[in-house]
């Protein structure tokens, strides 16, 4: 066997703390190594071409690249190796950047460690075998989880591209947070005028199946062939009959149900249609507040429903959908400001959240678009906005910037002047972050045209004084304390992960970050992919985002899915388990531990029972290999021999003995 080793400097990223030439020199002495060299940027075009040239010139059978993490560039170099005419699996990577040069400070030790990692890769490569993927058919359908603006965009793009789309929305209507907004920045155009027609498109598109008031219960299978169980929660209304006329809502006597759509600004009826433009526009009963369901005495809605749609006996059902790809667009939740005792912690009625204010500004909201104090219904003359409530605060575990609060606060301050002419508006801010197109101009307009008074500093306390509120804080530009009397205080609450994100991530087998947002495959190179093949991300579920960014990512995710399905088949990962029939004794322990049911019992021609791996079902975890006592099941590319060779390569090094 003739192997080539390429040690990358990565500019100074590696070379600054690893002696790359020394590593290459050491590699030349390793078994089967016929060629070793160091290069400045191995992943660059000349770097890759040097590999191709060396394979030809030295007749190499395999290549080791010592550079960055295989999670970063393994695919890149596998393609390079394939271009050089080798099997892409005759390649190994030694991670001497993330695991060596970036974490170790001592050049001598780093060089020794890098050499060990190269030796390990060489020993593994010596035991690699060419692997060939198989083609398997795919289900050209896509599941979109979440029907906010990102989910809507992704669903429409996929459907317009000719795919069948299954859209699952947890609430009874799609629309998400954007549907709750009155206006959008920086154009101050009507949110529902922008979103409404897209929601209608979803309802009318022949390629989209919408499961509203539903959740993803479980997911099995793999890219190209997922099977998704969708739990359709009980609405107690037969949606095939409901016309959305709203008679039931008008007559319902239970008026104390929570109304999440209006952010708790007003109560809702126990049977409800969240907003006039809802898609689907169907009623849903809240079983915790319905008098019929809690006490058995009412039945008003059933009596008044002209189409006989009410069904108090309804139970939840589960439907199974087969899809080939999944786009997660579950959005975000707003921070609960009760954590901040100094802002009243929910005790002062006239301290409200920005979403409550948004509903107040909306003509279809509970106040009909009038800005009124919750405490006494009076129009406020002075409104104070406090930014970064639940953002950029390590002490409450929210160290990140939510990104959009600066902008929506400016929008709300501008709208305040439109709704209450002559009202005084103040904004307490830490920094203004307005890096989008037309964003900074918008902030300027708020300050200069609308006279919004921006105070740079944190608010230390809000306290009532008579029927007004005193907002006390620091003005860090003036280096003085300021005190503003306000009639209404609006807290610009930040974004946090959607409830249930962790559970959904576990169901989909994707990762979430420390703040509960879904993790992308790579922050720069794979920003809409996850590390699970066939699962993509769109919108604020991946991190706080405003509408343009969410829509962009949704279209990107849709493009990824369309690209995935561009051919009728997918190539399976050949890194799957394989049973050696000569070694299998048919104990079938592997069958009991396989998480995917990828092992089946097979009777050989000699009549003996043996295990067999279904290659397209196997996901390559290797649980079976450890279960098999005689090593008859081996995971290709991670065989016992390959791992043992790596261990041996690390252990054989002479060490001081104490014996």
């Amino acid at each position: 066997m003739r192997l080539g080793v390429f040690v990358c400097h990565c500019g100074s990223n590696i070379a600054a703390t690893v002696d790359c030439a020394a590593v290459a020199l050491a590699a030349r002495a390793m078994p089967d190594v016929a060629f070793a060299a160091d290069s400045v940027y191995t992943c660059s075009e000349p770097g890759q071409e040097a590999i191709v040239a060396a394979v030809a010139e030295h007749g190499l059978d395999g290549v080791v690249v010592a550079s960055c993490s295989p999670r970063m560039h393994e695919r890149t170099f596998r393609r390079t190796v394939a271009r050089a005419g080798l099997n892409p699996y005759m390649f190994e990577m030694a991670n001497i950047r993330e695991h060596v040069s970036w974490v170790g400070r001592d050049k001598e030790r780093n060089t020794a460690k890098a050499t060990d990692l190269v030796r390990m890769a060489v020993e593994k490569l010596r035991r690699n075998r060419p692997l060939t993927p198989r083609e398997f058919p795919v289900t050209r359908r896509v599941l979109v989880v979440g029907g906010g603006v990102a989910g809507i965009q992704a669903a429409l793009d996929c459907a317009d591209g000719g795919l069948e789309v299954v859209l699952v929305e947890r609430a009874s209507s799609i629309g998400g947070k954007m549907a709750q907004l009155d206006k959008t920045f920086p154009t101050v155009d009507c949110s529902s005028c922008v979103l409404g027609p897209r929601m209608v498109d979803v309802a009318q598109h022949p390629g989209i199946t919408l499961h509203a008031y539903s959740e993803v219960a479980s997911v099995s299978g793999w890219v190209g062939n997922f099977e998704v169980a969708v739990r359709r929660k009980a609405t107690y209304v037969d949606w095939s009959k409901c016309t959305g006329c709203g008679e039931c809502v008008k007559k319902c006597p239970a008026r104390d149900a929570p109304d999440p759509f209006n952010a708790g600004l007003a109560p809702a009826r126990a049977i409800n249609i969240p907003f006039p433009q809802a898609i689907p526009k169907k009623a849903v009963i809240n079983p915790a507040h319905c008098k019929q369901l809690t006490t058995g005495k009412c039945g008003v809605c059933a009596k008044v429903c002209p189409s006989g749609a009410i069904d108090y006996a309804m139970t939840e059902t589960t439907v199974t959908e087969k899809v080939g790809a999944i786009i997660v667009a579950t959005g975000y939740e707003l921070f609960d400001p009760k954590v901040y005792g100094q802002y009243g912690g929910g005790r002062y009625p006239d301290v409200i959240t920005s979403m409550q204010y948004e509903r107040m500004l909306s003509a279809s909201g509970p106040t009909g678009g009038h800005v009124l104090r919750p405490s006494d219904g009076r129009e406020p003359r002075s409104v104070v906005f406090i930014q970064c409530v639940g953002s950029r605060d390590r002490h409450i575990g929210r160290p990140y910037c939510s990104g959009f609060c600066c902008m929506y606060t400016a929008k709300q301050a501008i709208l305040t002047r439109d709704h209450v002419p002559g009202a005084q508006t103040y904004v307490f801010y830490m920094d203004i972050r307005s890096p989008g197109k037309g964003y900074d101009e918008f902030i300027r307009r708020a300050m200069e045209e609308y006279g919004v008074r921006y105070v740079r500093g944190r608010v230390s306390r809000i306290f009532p004084k008579g029927d007004r509120l005193v907002v006390r804080g620091a003005d860090t530009l003036m280096a003085a304390q300021v005190q503003v009397e306000a009639d209404l205080v609006v807290l610009a609450v930040g974004a946090e992960h959607a409830p249930g994100a962790h559970e959904l991530a576990a169901t989909l087998r994707v990762s979430i970050d420390e703040h509960g947002f879904f993790m992308e495959g790579h922050p720069k190179l794979r920003p809409v992919e996850t590390n699970t093949a066939g699962v993509y991300l769109a919108g604020a579920c991946q991190g706080p985002k405003d509408i343009p960014a969410s829509v962009s990512q949704a279209s990107a995710a849709a493009a990824k899915v369309l690209g995935l399905f561009a051919r009728g088949t997918l190539a399976s990962d050949p890194q799957v388990a394989l049973v050696d029939p000569r070694r299998c004794v048919g104990c079938l322990k592997c069958l009991k531990t396989c998480p995917f049911g990828a092992i089946r019992e097979e009777q050989g021609r000699d009549g003996a029972v043996r295990a067999q791996v279904v290659e397209t079902v196997c996901q390559g975890c290797g649980v079976c290999c450890v279960t098999c006592p005689q090593g008859a099941v081996q995971l290709q590319h991670f065989t016992d021999d390959q791992i043992l060779a790596e261990v041996e390569a690390l252990c054989r090094i002479p060490l001081p003995t104490c014996g």
């Binding site: 070694r583 104990c587 322990k589 279960t627 065989t639 016992d640």
Partner: protein, 316 residues
């Protein structure tokens, strides 16, 4: 009890055993696996009886040391009867739990046991120090019999002879393990270095193990995968013992065949006992007590209350 009475009851027991064996053959068993006269007075050797005539030689007593369950896997597909002591029956139950034997192919003749002899404590050719009816003295028994929790078969179609009481040794059944574990760590390391230094790599321990069903495919004797080399180093010998212990973890019924088979008296059962004790502590699992039980390493629970959360501990 007088000697005459002993002799009478001994004959009654033998007659019962032989009748049960004949019944099994009558009921369709091809073979009866039991014990018969051995090379010396104190030993009962395995006896495979295929006819009522051969059954007449079947016997039992403290000399019936061997666990016959180890032969069953090779006889799979044929109906056989097998004589089992308490510990032997656990091997059968464990093999059943793993789907390696079929209950309908087995007739289990249960023999409550008062302990078997430790041959190393007897002079060669010495007379039998006890028989089926009259237990041998404790000091001549295999030490594992002195801590026996299962003297009566956990599984049997017919049971012959009076039930026996489990042993309750002073200091608990693991006092010797605890004493070993109390020694300094390096001493324990050197203990195995010294013990395995004697190992001949004969694999008698493995061949005697009723749970070792890999047979000709054992990791020890293949180079693909290459877990072990042919080098006669302590490292390879010790690693083989660890492989054997890990492969029988959660399965080993501590029948002791491995240790008894060792020609150079390496205490190879110790590692297996440690794993069995820990498997019981962690998973509440006593191997070979319930043929319906899934072995603990073939399953899991999402919440494992007995396993410390090593993640949280380090992540403070």
């Amino acid at each position: 009890m007088s000697t005459a009475q002993d002799a009478a009851s001994l004959e009654t027991l033998r007659a019962e055993l032989r009748r049960a064996a004949c019944d099994a053959l009558q009921a369709g068993a091809e073979l009866v696996l039991g014990w018969g006269p051995g090379p010396d007075p104190a030993t009962l050797a395995p006896l495979f009886a295929a006819s009522p005539g051969e059954c007449a030689a079947l016997d039992f007593g403290p000399g019936a040391v061997q666990n016959l369950a180890g032969h069953l896997r090779a006889l799979a597909g044929r109906k056989v009867a097998v004589c089992v002591k308490g510990c032997d029956s656990r091997s059968v139950a464990q093999l059943l739990a793993e789907g390696l034997l079929r209950r309908e192919e087995l007739v289990l003749i249960g023999l409550p046991c008062a302990g078997v002899l430790d041959r190393t404590r007897l002079a060669p050719g010495a007379p039998a120090p006890g028989d089926w009816a009259c237990a041998a003295p404790d000091e001549l028994l295999d030490p594992r019999c002195l801590r026996c929790r299962f003297p009566n078969p956990v599984l049997a179609d017919v049971t012959i002879g009076p039930g026996r009481a489990p042993r309750e040794p002073e200091g608990g059944p693991h006092a010797d393990l605890d004493a070993f574990l109390a020694r300094p760590v390096e001493e324990r390391f050197r203990h195995w270095e010294r013990e395995l230094g004697r190992c001949l790599r004969c694999y008698a321990c493995r061949n005697a193990c009723p749970l070792c069903v890999c047979r000709d495919h054992c990791l020890a004797e293949t180079r693909r995968p290459g877990w072990l080399s042919q080098s006669s180093s302590v490292r390879e010998k010790l690693l083989f013992q660890v492989i054997h212990a890990v492969h029988t973890a959660g399965r080993c019924t501590e029948c002791g065949q491995c240790q008894r088979a060792c020609p150079v008296d390496i205490p190879v059962l110790t590692l297996k006992r440690v794993l069995a004790r820990e498997a019981e502590a962690l998973f509440g699992h006593v191997a070979g007590t319930d043929p319906a039980q899934v072995p603990p390493l073939l399953t899991f629970r999402a919440e494992e209350p007995t396993i410390p959360d090593h993640g949280a501990e380090e992540g403070r």
